[in-house]
C-alpha cells in the first residue's frame, strides 16, 4: 500500500508554485522527480568522499569506489543479473543503445536483418539506422494496430534466420503500451536473434528479472527511475558483452597501453572509459533502493488505479481521443481533443500549474501512423493523486472552452 502523504514529503518539488498554482507534475515519462534521499546521497558524496574511483590507494578513493561498486550490486540485484559485471554504467538509455548498436557494426553484414517495432523512441531507431548504414543490414518494422498494440503474428512472419537483432521498447513512451517481451524474446531466440529491450519507460514501473525472462540486453535511464540525470545502465549477458568491442577508448577501460598496442580490460571496465558519473552512479543505486522500499507491486497497483481513473474521467470530455488503448499499459495517457493543437492545451495547463508533455514525444513514426502532429501526454507516478487528476480534467475542460 502506498502511503501517499508520506511519499509526497519525499519530493520537495511537489510544493513548488507555478504561476500561482501548486505544481501538478504529470510529465513523469519524460523525467521522474527525485526524492530527497537521492539528492542527499549526491550531496553526501561531494561533501564527504568525492574522489576519482578505481586505482586509488587513498581512503576517499576507496570509499568512492566501494560506494560506486555497491550501487552496481544494488542494480544487479534489482534486475537479478547473474554477475555484477553485466551491469554497465552509461550516461542513459540513449548511450546504452548506441553502445550496443555501435558494437554490432563488427558482427553484422549485408543481408542481415534488424527488426524494430513501429512504436520506438527515436533513441531506439536512429542508432539502428546508423548501424544499417554502416553494415548494409536491413531494418524491418514490426507493425502495430490502431490500439497501439503490436501485431504478434507479424513478428512470427518477419523473424527468420536472417534476423540478427530484435529491438523493442518494453513500454512505449508515447502510448504507454506494455509490449509482450516474453513472446518477442521467444520468437527471436528461436531464430537465434539477439534482443535489445529499451526499458527506459518500464524500469520505473515494472519489476524485471533478466535471468527469468532470458533477456539479452536491457537499457534504462536513471532520471526516469527517481535517480539523477546523466546516468543509466546497460544490462547485457556476459557472453554477449564479451563479443562487443569497446565503445570508447580511455582510462579505466584498458589493461596495458603502449603506442604500438593496447589491450583492453575485462567487463565492466571495457565499456566504462574515462571517469564515470560517480555521484550519479551512486545516487542511482539509492534511487533503486528507494523504489524497492515502496515496492514495485504497490507502485503498479497504485499507478494503475490512477490510470484507470484518469482514463475514464478524460473520456467524459467530448471530442477527446486517446491514442494507445492496450489492455496492458503503464500510467501514460496520450490524447487529443478534436482539432485543438496540443501546444495550445499544454500552454493553458501550464498556466494552471500542470506540467504535461505535448508534441511528438520523440516518436515521430507513431505520430505519422496516427496522422497527427502530436499529442498531449500525461504520465503518472506514485506520488500523484486523484485530486490532481480531477484538477487536470477540470483544467482541460477550461482550456477546451477557451480554445474551442
Amino acid at each position: 500500500m502506498i502511503d501517499i502523504n508520506k511519499i509526497r514529503k519525499d519530493f520537495p518539488i511537489l510544493n513548488r508554485k507555478i504561476n500561482g498554482n501548486r505544481l501538478i507534475y504529470f510529465d513523469n515519462a519524460a523525467t521522474s522527480q527525485t526524492p530527497s534521499v537521492v539528492v542527499e546521497e549526491i550531496a553526501n558524496y561531494y561533501y564527504n568522499y568525492n574522489s576519482n574511483i578505481h586505482r586509488g590507494v587513498h581512503s576517499l578513493s576507496q570509499e568512492a569506489t566501494e560506494a560506486y561498486e555497491k550501487s552496481r550490486k544494488i542494480i544487479q540485484s534489482n534486475f537479478n543479473a547473474k554477475y555484477n559485471h553485466e551491469i554497465i554504467f552509461t550516461s542513459g538509455s540513449t548511450h546504452g543503445i548506441n553502445l550496443v548498436a555501435s558494437g554490432y557494426a563488427h558482427l553484422l553484414k549485408k543481408g542481415d536483418e534488424i527488426i524494430l517495432s513501429a512504436m520506438e523512441h527515436h533513441s531506439n531507431i536512429v542508432p539502428w539506422q546508423m548501424l544499417c548504414e554502416k553494415t548494409g543490414a536491413k531494418l524491418k518494422v514490426a507493425p502495430m494496430n490502431s490500439d497501439g498494440v503490436l501485431i504478434m503474428e507479424e513478428y512470427n512472419k518477419m523473424c527468420n534466420k536472417n534476423t540478427k537483432l530484435v529491438v523493442i521498447s518494453h513500454v512505449s513512451n508515447a502510448l504507454g503500451t506494455i509490449n509482450p517481451i516474453k513472446s518477442i524474446l521467444s520468437i527471436a531466440h528461436s531464430n537465434n536473434a539477439v534482443v535489445l529491450i529499451d526499458g527506459a519507460q518500464a524500469a520505473p514501473h515494472i519489476k524485471i528479472d533478466v535471468q527469468d525472462l532470458d533477456i539479452d540486453f536491457y537499457v534504462v535511464s536513471g532520471h526516469k527511475l527517481m535517480g539523477p540525470t546523466g546516468v543509466g545502465v546497460l544490462y547485457g549477458k556476459e557472453k554477449l558483452l564479451k563479443l562487443l568491442p569497446p565503445y570508447q577508448g580511455g582510462g579505466e577501460m584498458i589493461d596495458q597501453v603502449t603506442f604500438e598496442k593496447t589491450t583492453y580490460a575485462g567487463l565492466p571496465h571495457k565499456f566504462e572509459a574515462g571517469t564515470p558519473n560517480i555521484a550519479g552512479g551512486i545516487a542511482m543505486g539509492k534511487a533503486v533502493e528507494y523504489i524497492n522500499e515502496i515496492g514495485y507491486e504497490a507502485i503498479a497497483q497504485y499507478e494503475n488505479t490512477l490510470l484507470r481513473y484518469a482514463t475514464s474521467e478524460l473520456l467524459k470530455i467530448e471530442g477527446l481521443k486517446i491514442y494507445g488503448e492496450s489492455e496492458n499499459k503503464t500510467a501514460v495517457i496520450s490524447f487529443n481533443i478534436k482539432s485543438i493543437h496540443p501546444y495550445d492545451i499544454g500552454t493553458i495547463l501550464d498556466k494552471l500549474g500542470i506540467a504535461v508533455r505535448t508534441g511528438h514525444h520523440c516518436a515521430q513514426p507513431i505520430m505519422d501512423f496516427f496522422e497527427i502532429p502530436g499529442t498531449i501526454r500525461v504520465s503518472f507516478s506514485f506520488y500523484n493523486t486523484k485530486e490532481e487528476i480531477d484538477f487536470m480534467v477540470n483544467s482541460i475542460k477550461r482550456a477546451k472552452s477557451m480554445l474551442g
Partner: protein, 141 residues
Amino acid sequence: MKKIEIIQKEIIDEFNLFDDWMQRYEYMIDLGKSIPTIDPKNKNDKNIINGCQSKVWVHAELKENKVLYTADSDAIITKGIIALLLRVFSNQHPRDILLADTSFIDKIGLKEHLSPTRANGLLSMVKQLKMYAVAYQTQVK
C-alpha cells in the same frame, strides 16, 4: 502609417486593461482566430519555420517601400502572438522594422513565448521578419 513605437504602446495599453492571464489569453486566442489569413499558396514548405511543437509560416512582400507580412501557425496561441507581431511589424518601412525590438511582448506578460528555448518557432519567426527587412532594405530608396 503609425510608427512602430506607437503601435507597441497601444498594445501595452490594451493589455493593461486585463486583470489576469485568463483574459490576456482569451484575447490572444481571439486575435489568433481573426488573424488575416495567409494566401494558401504562400503556406508552403519554403515559408515554414519548424518550431518542433507548432509550425509557423511567414510570407513577406514589398509594397510601396513597406514590408507586408502574412503569417500563420497551426497552434492558436502562437497565432495570437503572430497577430500582435504583424500588427507591429507589417506595413512598415524596412529600416524601422530593423530598428524595432520585441520587448513589448515582455511588457504584456507574454515573455515566455519568445524565449529562445520555447519550441514554438516564434523567435525564429521574429528573426525571419528581420531577415526579410534586411533583404528588402536594399530595394527601397
